[in-house]
């Protein structure tokens, strides 16, 4: 029964996502809700399942309660396996030392034993920051074909955006000769997606070496990858084509949600061949009342809609009362929008209570930032919330 696992995935899920501010006060970034019923971490987890990778270590650190609860035994992703499956790996107290995960590389370093117990040949490093559908099996095949030590997934980005990413410069055979983190003058448009496949032994060697260096930031992008490059290891860039979105900022999170709308959405969640799995309960079907107007929107179970909803994403159990209008917004689970209220270009976190006659945010053409209301915030009747306002979670 205890057969070897060829490839073990390690999912870095300890990030705070501080730029998501109000949405990550109480949850780690990978647990931030997305697309009407999902959370960001559903994407790498579903990708693993769909790629045939059944052993995933999830490294948690920042606000892990929701994430732990959410992943549970891994059943929704078919990762509740007798051998392997999904395992939560929090920082722990060792025999000689105890420490928080100091960096991405250090987190993996501290969990080398986890990888070892499956006798893995390859280690897939993932992060919980992106929305995308990707077949990791194809990347692994590419890695093996090139007899590489490390393969980094890259995506072609517009040159004007390239300085926001880690940029790879490659030879004709896509082997990497230069890596520059957020270069001012990028000489390539191949951006690292933060997805790596390593040969296990090579990875362990570099991690161990890196751990000895007190000056090191213990980070893949800053230390491990440059060190491997300067030692002339075989490193390749795996080109990914398709939708890939970093949802690290409030506006990019909003945009990614909007990408789901339309007859032929830029990014579709209803692809039967590449399903995105998620944990959710059994809420009653949504009810669209008389007098309701719903257009170009995504609405989830348990919602009650009596008002107008346009170009919006509504999560489970949202109530939109008569006469109210929700436009260009992302409304998270259990939020209530009172009668005659107007919500435009906003992200409302879970269980927000918007009273009657509230005016929240302005049209998205107003060149304002998206308005964000933290979880369980109560907005009294008749209040006006200016566009671009951010009210953090008060808990």
């Amino acid at each position: 029964m205890f057969k070897k696992k060829e490839c073990v995935a390690m999912l870095l899920a300890g990030g705070q996502g501080s730029r998501l501010y109000a949405l990550t006060q109480n949850v780690a970034k990978p647990a931030v809700p997305f697309g009407g019923k999902y959370r960001i971490i559903d994407f790498p987890l579903s990708n693993c399942t769909n790629s045939g990778i059944d052993t995933v270590g999830v490294l948690t650190q920042y606000q892990p309660l929701v994430l732990n609860d959410y992943i549970g035994n891994g059943l929704p992703w078919d990762l509740d396996r007798t051998y392997g499956g999904v395992k939560i790996l929090p920082p722990y107290q060792g025999k000689d030392s105890a420490d928080w995960y100091k960096g991405t590389a250090n987190a993996i370093y501290q969990n080398m034993k986890f990888i070892e117990q499956y006798d893995a040949d390859y280690v897939l490093i993932l992060s919980g920051d992106h929305i995308y559908k990707m077949d990791y099996a194809k990347m692994l095949k590419f890695h093996k074909k090139n007899n590489a030590d490390c393969t980094i997934a890259v995506i072609d980005v517009p040159i004007e955006e390239a300085s926001r990413f880690g940029i790879m410069s490659v030879n004709e055979d896509d082997s990497i000769f230069k890596f520059s983190e957020k270069p001012k003058n990028p000489d390539s448009t191949l951006a690292s997606m933060g997805i790596y496949i390593f040969n296990k032994q090579k990875l362990f060697d570099y991690l161990t070496e890196d751990a000895k260096d007190p000056e090191s930031a213990n980070d893949f992008g800053k230390n491990i990858i440059p060190n491997m490059l300067s030692a002339k290891e075989r490193m390749f860039a795996y080109r990914f084509e398709g939708y890939w979105k970093d949802v690290g900022t409030l506006s990019s999170l909003w945009e990614a949600n909007m990408d789901l709308l339309g007859e032929e959405p830029i990014f579709s969640l209803s692809d039967e061949k590449w399903r995105i799995f998620t944990r959710h309960g059994a809420l009653a079907p949504q009810y669209i009342g008389e007098g309701a107007k719903v257009k170009n929107s995504i609405i989830s179970e348990g919602c009650k809609i009596y008002g107008t909803v346009e170009n919006s994403i509504l999560f489970g159990g949202v109530t939109v009362m008569p006469g109210s209008v929700v436009r260009d917004s992302v409304v998270l689970g259990g939020t209530y929008i009172g009668a005659g209220s107007e919500v435009s270009y906003a992200i409302l976190d879970t269980e927000v209570y918007v009273g009657a006659g509230v005016k929240l945010g302005a049209g998205k053409d107003a060149k304002q930032e998206v308005t964000v209301i933290g979880a369980q915030t109560k907005i009294a009747d008749g209040q006006k919330i200016d566009a671009g306002t951010m009210i953090p979670d008060v808990r």
Binding site: G35, G36, K37, L75, P76, L261, E263, P265, S268, L269, S270, R275, I276, F277, T278, H280, G281, A282, L283, A284, P285, Q286, Y287, I288, G289, E290, G291, A292, K293, V294, K295, N296, S297, I298, I299, S300, E301, V309, I313, L314
Partner: protein
Amino acid sequence: MKAAGLIFSNIHDRNISEMTAKRTMASLPFGGRYRLIDFPLSNMVNSGITKVGIITHNNYRSLIDHIGTGKDWDLARRNGGIMLLPPFITAFDSPVANKLYTTRLEALMGVMEYITHCTEELIVLSDSDVVCNMDLRAVIEQHEETSADVTVVVREKEFGNDVKIGANTIVVSDEEGNISEFVENTALAQGKCDVSMNILVINKLFLVSLVNNSIAHGFKGFYGQALPFCHSGAVYKTYRYNGYCAEIEDLSKYFCANMQMLDEEIRDELFGNKDRPILTKVRNMAPTQYGKNAKVSNSLIADGCKIDGTVENSVLFRGVVVKKGTVVRNSILLQNTWTGENVSLNCVISDKNVFIRDGITLFGHESMPFYITKGKMI
């Protein structure tokens, strides 16, 4: 827990033979995302019952598919949990004599092994043709307080000309709820009578002796023979249920009951109770997508639909597609019904995986909904 549950999945299949040709009554889809068994099953689970047997007869593939491991009802247990009890035929002569059971009593005989092995003191019996959200704890509590052997849950029903004869058992009882008689022939009934909801709490040992007695005497009827025979010296009580209840007696009742889900009060009573949620199999479908031409009002819609047409007063199950220009009124569209452009539907029940081509018009009537069989292409 001191009670175990036992659900009859097939008993009322004939009520709605159109839709049960390829499924059990228990697995009949209802209310946008549920199946009928979700109601008795959730009622049991919400009352703390952690061991449930489901008695099946035939056509139970869809039921097995729906129940799975029982995980969605938290009944995937090492101790107890859910168990499907398919027909049990021994190779040798038995009371059921190598044929499938035909009555409730024979069904119970077939699962005696399961009943006798229960360590629980009480057995809660339930059929799967009744839609309700009932607190069975209260029934069990009353059962214990009154030291009853059998407690029958009853509700008031008005008997007139439109009531199907033989669909109900009238339970006659005094003010204290002591049962004096079960009347199975309801042909002469007039006015308000208490009828059994076929939800019963029975002391396990009493049930065992009742079934054994019935085997010995060759009884066939549960209310007509077995219960009256064992009545002397035993305490039979009624428990009065006043909440919402829909009985699926035939296709038009099925249609009406689904339409009642559009009533906010009824919906809140059935699904709005946070302590007693109706649980069902959870599938992973994307949320429902509304297009630019969507016009939806007074409708109950499950996840995974794609709507770009008009939907009014209707119940849409998972994965229904309503294309541009299509008008769906007063209809129940089961899972994965696909309608093309400019289709017009009124009072239609379409079963699973029905495909309706562009421009087709189909009208039924409330009393006679137009039913389209599973997988049909029109």
